[in-house]
């Protein structure tokens, strides 16, 4: 299995549109790395450069240490799954999957065996002789995945392969992609703008913004320890509160009426500076004030309650600002708009960043 490295990739379109600005990224052998970022940040451009459909202005794409930028796309031995349906409409599912083998002039029996095997792997063994227009969107993308794997490519590239599908199919299919990827142990670069998808299936997530890499890390790292305001707000839902450093030595900040000791992070802001304080909704506790002794939190008023299933999202106005909290839906039964509550933040999960 191969190792993929993107080094210093730069790409400018026309005058002024810098799609990629010195992108560095490594995908280890057998690893699945997601390239995550908002629309227009250059994800597709990066992937197309790796695939050989675009030429970078600068930089290298290394596969096992060998620069492939000069190689035509057809000789890079990569498999790509496109966002929109890219199956050849004039071929059955089986012929689509066998296409790369046909090009490599493999004997017919071998092609059939291999495409049968791959279609079975993506759960479409019985649809082999259907034409693309006879398959659902999800089925088409499964076939596209099988096709991209048929010639045993060194690297698998996926460009938002699920974004055209409905939510439910998207969730099952992303698990399927991950299962197949693990089964084959294939080095994979997965482009998506859906942070949930990226967190769900990746070994590591590379968060991009405006052609640059913001942070690379495991899903847990990126979620729990965002290194920039952009990452904090793009990955997951987060409260961004304004705070002032009370004491650098004691790692404390003042936010509204509370003084909070900040937990697990480097804390290098000088005393008195304004910082942005990030806290996830699930790390906010909201208690009704009627609950026995006066709690340690900031007093506030419930402004909105949104039922999300297992949790309920509660919006509270308090001295910290406007804070959203995810509470179990059972507890939320006691919270109604207008209710006086106390808001607490879990200090171990607080993140501070110099404001952008």
């Amino acid at each position: 299995m191969a190792r993929l490295e993107l080094r210093g990739l730069r790409k400018q379109f026309g005058r002024g549109v810098v799609a990629l600005d010195r992108l560095d990224l490594e995908v280890g052998s057998g690893e699945l790395v997601s390239l995550l970022g908002p629309s227009g940040c250059g994800k597709t451009t990066a992937l197309r450069i790796v695939a050989g459909f675009e030429v970078p202005d600068e930089g290298e794409v290394l596969v096992d240490g060998v620069d492939v930028v000069g190689l035509p796309a057809s000789r890079r031995n990569m498999g790509m799954v496109f966002q929109s349906y890219s199956l050849f409409p004039n071929m059955t599912a089986e012929d689509n999957v066998a296409y790369p083998l046909r090009i490599r002039r493999q004997p017919k029996a071998e092609r059939q065996r291999r495409s049968g095997e791959l279609l079975a792997m993506v759960g479409l063994a019985t649809q082999a002789d259907r034409y693309p227009h006879q398959l659902s969107g999800g089925q088409q993308q499964r076939v596209a995945l099988a096709r991209a794997l048929a010639h045993e490519p060194a690297v698998l590239l996926l460009d938002e392969p699920l974004s055209a599908l409905d939510a439910k199919v998207r969730v099952t299919l992303r698990e399927e992609v991950r299962r197949v990827q693990l089964e084959l142990g294939i080095t994979t670069l997965y482009v998506t703008h859906d942070q949930e998808e990226a967190l769900a299936i990746s070994d590591r997530v590379a968060v991009m913004s405006e052609g640059r890499l913001e942070q690379v890390g495991t899903p847990a790292e990126v979620y729990a320890s965002p290194r920039s305001p952009f990452v904090a707000s793009f990955v997951g839902t987060v409260n961004r509160l304004e705070a002032t450093v009370a004491s650098r030595a004691e790692r404390t900040v003042r936010c509204g009426e509370l003084v909070l000791r900040v937990g697990a992070e480097d804390f290098e802001h000088p005393d008195g500076t304004t910082v942005a304080l990030y806290v996830r909704p699930e790390d906010v506790t909201v208690r009704p004030l009627t609950d026995g002794p006066a709690p340690a939190g900031a007093g506030g008023t419930v402004r909105g309650v949104t039922f999300l299933g297992s949790v309920t999202r509660v919006r509270v106005d308090c001295s910290l600002g406007s804070v959203v909290a995810d509470v179990s839906s059972e507890e939320a039964l006691h919270l109604a708009p207008g209710e006086a509550v106390s808001v607490e933040l879990d200090p171990r999960r607080l993140r501070t960043l110099a404001p952008a």
């Binding site: 695939a51 050989g52 459909f53 035509p72 796309a73 057809s74 000789r75 890079r76 031995n77 990569m78 498999g79 790509m80 496109f82 929109s84 349906y85 890219s86 199956l87 050849f88 409409p89 004039n90 071929m91 059955t92 296409y99 790369p100 046909r102 090009i103 490599r104 034409y131 227009h133 596209a144 096709r147 991209a148 048929a150 010639h151």
Partner: protein
């Protein structure tokens, strides 16, 4: 029943301007001037003289469809190429819309004055010792086919541009990604997808050339040997008037076009299996 209300105008139109005249024509092909049934008109068209006319018409149409088809196909692929400047596309399609309808005397004159026996190009080539007699539009089938190509190729282009636009960029890229060369992509993906459109367009080109009259007549006058020219001569009486024979010849053309449409239908069915 009400569902068919919308097609009534079209149906009426077809009835009055296509079905009734065609039926009339077919009936008249089997009548003598006094109106009694006869097979003699239809047997006459099997005489060598008339068969050679059909052969000439078929040859001309095949050549014109071939030249126009190939030229139009390449021109269309060039126009829709992603790297082609936008202006090229709009100007070429506008020109084609005009050129596809350019026929008759102006077209004949343009070619006579360039490639005719004393045309400027013919004369220029004669000066350097090259004879263009083989492509003289006034006297050779090849020459006439070139004239027809003038309106056939823009027609092909206009018919193919939408079909080529329908080829998705992802298909080419997927093929390339999977190891196909540009040629392999065309052979295995693009052409098979285009076959139905190519067939349809070629049939139109063929039919257009087969039934064209004004241009050929303008070029060769009453000496022409194409079926349409014969029909013209037999009805307007430059040489002899024999409308019954003209009906029979027209009937022969209808039979040929019908056979062609049947073959086209069968090929189309085969080529577009994947669409059903």
């Amino acid at each position: 029943m009400l569902r068919y209300l919308g097609v009534v105008p079209l149906g009426a139109y077809l009835l009055v301007f296509l079905l009734i005249p065609t039926g009339e024509l077919v009936v008249d092909a089997f009548r003598d001037p006094s109106g009694t049934f006869t097979l003699s008109n239809v047997t006459t068209i099997f005489q060598a003289q008339y068969l050679s006319s059909f052969a000439a018409s078929l040859e001309l149409s095949a050549l014109a469809a071939l030249f126009g088809g190939i030229l139009g196909f390449f021109a269309a692929t060039a126009v829709v190429h992603p790297n082609a400047p936008r202006l090229v596309r709009s100007s070429v399609t506008t020109f084609s819309g005009m050129a596809a309808n350019f026929a008759g005397i102006p077209l004949a004159f343009a070619f006579t004055s360039t490639l005719g026996a004393t045309g400027v190009i013919t004369v220029a080539f004669r000066h350097v010792g090259v004879s263009l007699a083989a492509v003289n539009p006034d006297a050779t089938t090849l020459g006439l086919a070139l004239v027809y190509t003038y309106f056939e190729f823009p027609l092909m282009l206009l018919l193919l541009v939408p079909a080529l636009d329908g080829l998705k960029r992802e298909w080419r890229e997927a093929a390339t990604n999977l190891g196909a060369s540009g040629f392999t992509y065309w052979r295995t993906v693009a052409l098979p997808i285009l076959v139905p459109s190519l067939l349809g367009a070629t049939v139109l080109l063929f039919g257009g050339a087969f039934s064209a009259y004004a241009t050929a007549y303008a070029l060769s006058g009453s000496t022409g040997n194409l079926v349409t020219e014969l029909i013209g001569n037999l009805t307007n009486g430059n040489v002899t008037v024999d409308p019954q024979l003209a009906y029979a010849l027209a009937f022969g053309m209808i039979v040929i076009i019908t056979v062609l449409m049947v073959i086209y239908g069968l090929l189309q069915r085969r080529a577009s299996r994947w669409l059903r």
